[in-house]
Structure formats: C-alpha cells, structure tokens
C-alpha cells in the first residue's frame, strides 16, 4: 500500500513537534541550571547557554545538610524497593501460579490497596508514628514507602510470573528440581526484566515522596531530597538557577536509569502493568 507524500510527511512532522514538546521542559531545566544568572533573568530568553557556569550547582549542593538528604533518600528508597520486591515476589507467585480459595479476593484487595490515597491519610499516620515515638526517624518512612509500592509490585510481578510459560517450570521439575529450585533457576532469571521494571516504578515513587516526610520528619537530620528541592523557593526567593540546578540533580539519577533501562524495562513495565 503506497501512501501519498502528505501521508508520509505528516506523521513524522507531528512526531518532531511532539518530541520537542516533551523534551523542552527537561531541556530548559538543565539549560537554566548551567546558565549564568544574567542569562536567566534576561528580557529575551537565551535558548542555548553559551557561558557555562557551575555556580548554581555549588549553591544547591552547598545547602545545609545536603549530603544527609542524599544519604537519607538513597537509604529509604533502596530499602523500600528491596523489601517490597521480596515480599511481592512470594505473593505474586502464589497469585499467578496457584489455585486456592480467596485468590480473587486477594487480587481485588491489592487493587484497592493500590488506590490508597496516602496523602489524605497523613494525619492518621502521623498519630500512629507519634504514639510510637518514632517521629524524625527513617524507619517508619521506609516501612510506609514499602507499603506504598507493594500493591503495584505484587500486581505487576503477577503479570510477569504468569507470562513465564509453566511448561518451563514443569520440565525443570521433571528433571528433578524441587519447586523452589525450579523457581530459582528457571523463573527468576526470566523475571529479571520484570523485576527491573517494577523496581524502577518503586524507586520513582519512593524517591519522589513528599507529603509524608514533610509531616513526619521536621528534623533536618531525617529529611529527604524532595523537601530540599521545595525549600529552594523559600530560601532563595526566585533563584531559578539554583532551583533548576537542584531539580536537575534530583532528576538526573532517575532520567539516566530510565533511559538506560528503557528498552527492557519500559516495555516490560507497560506489558506487566496492564495485565488485569
């Protein structure tokens, strides 16, 4: 089927426009971060930074407790992702491969849990944590983040486990593996992209979490990067250079991870996420 010239041009033209639209905010963030203040507050925008400066990054990383925030964020996020993966893997295996009473109930339960509006339950969470004398600690934060990403992880991994042909597992068991061995040697390696995809989602959720840490941890020693990021507007007024440098630093780990893994993980994430 031969398409007319117009029919061939417009999809590409639209794609180019869309691409610019999606990339521009990211580009502008990074460009602003590297521009000297004079170029940021100019009557006509400087589209391409010519004088590169690292001043804004120095301001951003020079903020009090910066490295504490980095360590806290990494600790909380990585632990939450690991915990939820381990917990979810067991559960999702049962949901995908086994037949038992109440299976449907569990699935609906996790779907409901995924809807939990955490931001509105903050008051209750605050009271619980306060009564346990655990304010300004990373422990409740890690626990709640684990829970925030758990339902999604269970449901998504369930799709991935189901997608591994049961015959592979069976033939491994015929060859003398126990069910556990079959799982470890056959299913787990095939699940790698799925695990990566789901952990990425978890990583982003925990890395971004803002409302809970805002309420629970007033002490800077126990705060995380999102609070640091939003603090710039009040601390520096309209220092857009420093704000954008902070945003860049905050976003770059995830952007790199995402772009780097996108082939395997992104398609995996989408495939796993929609399998009802």
């Amino acid at each position: 089927m031969k398409r007319s010239l117009f029919g061939r041009v417009w999809p590409n033209a639209t794609a180019v426009v869309l691409c610019i639209g999606f990339v521009f905010p990211v580009y502008w963030m990074i460009a602003t971060a590297f521009k000297p203040t004079g170029d940021i507050v100019s009557e006509d925008p400087v589209w391409f930074p010519t004088d590169i400066t690292l001043d804004h990054f120095r301001t951003a990383t020079g903020a009090d407790h910066f490295w504490t925030f980095v360590t806290n964020s990494l600790t909380v996020t990585v632990l939450a992702v690991v915990f939820s993966l381990v917990i979810a893997l067991a559960g999702s295996f049962a949901l995908a491969r086994m037949r038992f009473r109440g299976r449907r109930g569990f699935i609906i339960g996790f779907m409901l849990a995924q809807m939990a509006p955490w931001e509105v339950m903050i008051i209750a969470m605050y009271m619980i944590v306060r009564d346990a004398s655990m304010l300004n600690s990373l422990v409740p934060l890690t626990a709640f983040y684990t829970m925030m990403i758990l339902p999604f992880t269970v449901l998504t991994l369930r799709g991935f486990v189901a997608a591994v042909p049961a015959e592979l597992e069976e033939s491994a068991m015929v060859d003398g593996c126990t069910r556990m061995q079959a799982f470890r040697r056959v299913i787990l390696p095939l699940l790698a992209p799925g695990l990566m995809a789901t952990s990425m989602f978890g990583f982003i959720t925990a890395w971004n979490e803002f409302a809970l840490v805002l309420v629970l941890n007033k002490d800077a020693e126990a705060q995380t990067l999102p609070l640091w990021l939003t603090s710039f507007q009040t601390v520096f007024g309209n220092d857009w250079g420093a704000t954008m440098a902070a945003s860049t630093l905050f976003a770059v780990p995830i952007l790199i991870l995402f772009v780097f893994l996108q082939r395997r993980a992104v398609s995996g994430l989408t495939a796993g996420a929609v399998k009802g």
Partner: protein, 332 residues
Amino acid sequence: MTVQTERPPSGPADVHKSAGGGGSGRPNPRASRIGALAPYLLLLPACAASVLLLGWPLLKDLLLSFQNLNMGQLIQHVTEWNGIDNYTEVLTGEEFWRVTLRSILFTAVNVALTMFLGGLVGLLLARLGKRMRFTLMMGLVLAWAMPVVAATTVYQWLFAQRFGVVNWVLDKLGWHSMADYSWTSDQMSTFFVVTVLIVWMSIPFVAINLYAATTTIPAELYEAASLDGAGAWKSFTTVTLPFLRPFLYATTFLEIIWIFKAFVQVYTFNQGGPDRLTEILPVYAYIEGVGNQHYGMGAAIAFLTILIMIGLTAYYLRIVLKQEKEQEEAGL
C-alpha cells in the same frame, strides 16, 4: 470479529492452566497438605504488611474522624469522642461539596485529555518509521521519568511571571497582555498549568502502553477486515479499538487513581491557591487537617475521599472481578 477481545491477549489466562499449586498430580498426601497452605504462606508477608501499614492507618483514620481533635487535644494526648459531628459539619458545609465537584471535574478533564491525546500518540508511534519512533519514544521516556517534584518546579519556572518562557512566547506571538501575567493569581490559570503538567507527565505511559498493545494485534485480523471491504476507519473501529479495549480500561483506571490523588502537583505549584480555589480533595484534606490543625475533621474528609475514589473506580473493579471469576471457572 470479536474473538479474543475479552482480555489482554497475552494475559495470565492461557498460561496457568496446568500449574495447579495444590499438589495436584502428586499423590503424596503430606505434600498436598503443605501445597494447599503454600499460597497463603506465600501471601502472608504481603498481607501482614498491608494490614499493619495500610489497614491500621485506615482504621486509625476512621477512629480519628469521630473525635474532636485539634491542636490542644493533640498536645495533651486526650481523646474526645464527638460522634458524627465531623461528618455532619463536613457534609452540611458547602465547601466540601464544592471541592468534591471540583475534584471530579478536574480528574475527568485530565483523564479524558490524557487518554485521548495519549491514545493518538500511541497510534502515531505505531505508524512511524523505526528511527523516528525511537526518537519520539526517547522524548516520551524523558518526560515520563521526570520526578514529580522536579517537574512541578520546572513548570513553575516555565510559567514564571517574570522571565518565564511561556509568557515571553505569548508576548512575541502578539498577546501582549500576557507579557507579565501571573499564572498563579487566578483559579483557572492555575488549573490550566497543572493540567498541562499532568497531561504532559501522563501521556507517555498511556502512549507507550497502547503502542505496545497495538503491536500484539495479529495482522490477519486486518487482512480479514480488508477482505470484507473495510476502509481505514472501519478497520480501526472493528479491529483496533475492540482489541485495545482491555488496555484502555486498565490504563484509564490507573490514570483515574493517579490523577485523582495528584497532591504534589497541585500543592507544590500553588498550595491550593489562590484563596484555596484550586484545592482538590487530597489537598483539601491536608490543608484542613494538618494546615488548619482540625485533625478530626481532616480525618473525616480523608475517609469520605476514599469512599468517593472507590465509587469512581467501582465500574472497573467489577469488570476485573468478573474476568477473574471467568478465568477461575475456565479451570484456571
């Protein structure tokens, strides 16, 4: 023509037919007893975590919503039950209903835009050549991967009153009154920016998802359709659309949840302002509860919010329930 449209084509249905965790096919009675317990044991950690970390806060929230709990009671650790006073106050007040309506409209507009535009971008991806598709995909992934807090900050800068790029462009396009426009000063313009932000962040997921789904449509279906004399539009409505339906349901469900809960975008962009006019339910519950220190009241609003959300997604949950039932009856 409606074959295979009931559930995602590569869904679990076709794979776990022969798995049977109950030790079926193995005669050893002890093994089968352990086998019968195995799924529950495997689910135990996930359920325990859910009960402790989600169930408990929910219960606590419900209890708090029946208490008169303000700053004073909070500091002195006293519990003052006041029955359904919080609920009557919330439900008889105008504010709650206004915020609810606003939330639902906000969610509806954002989800509709996201699904419609995301769907179009997904179909476009399917039509592009390999290199162009990769480029657009990378662009989408970049936007998708932007952390919400960072993205919101960037949008504040793009739409900044002074030196913001958007105002500059509008001015240069001849709309001179926008040269120094403050987007945060007005309800509708705040919502406009938040909507652009949310749609921008949400389209990639929908588009990539639907594109992935279109690649699984068997070519024979299109061939059959064209043999039946179907044109491009006809084959779109009879083949593509029915095939994509389960994906569309699933993504719409996720988008409704995510957008309804869009706390960070609304709160960090303008704190629900100006004059609390852009508060959606989660922001309202937070500002009323934590900000104005009416904790009991905030808890009541929170609980009502949860009920509304379940109501909004009930339709989809019913579909899932039915699907799972059919699968189980089909012998799993």
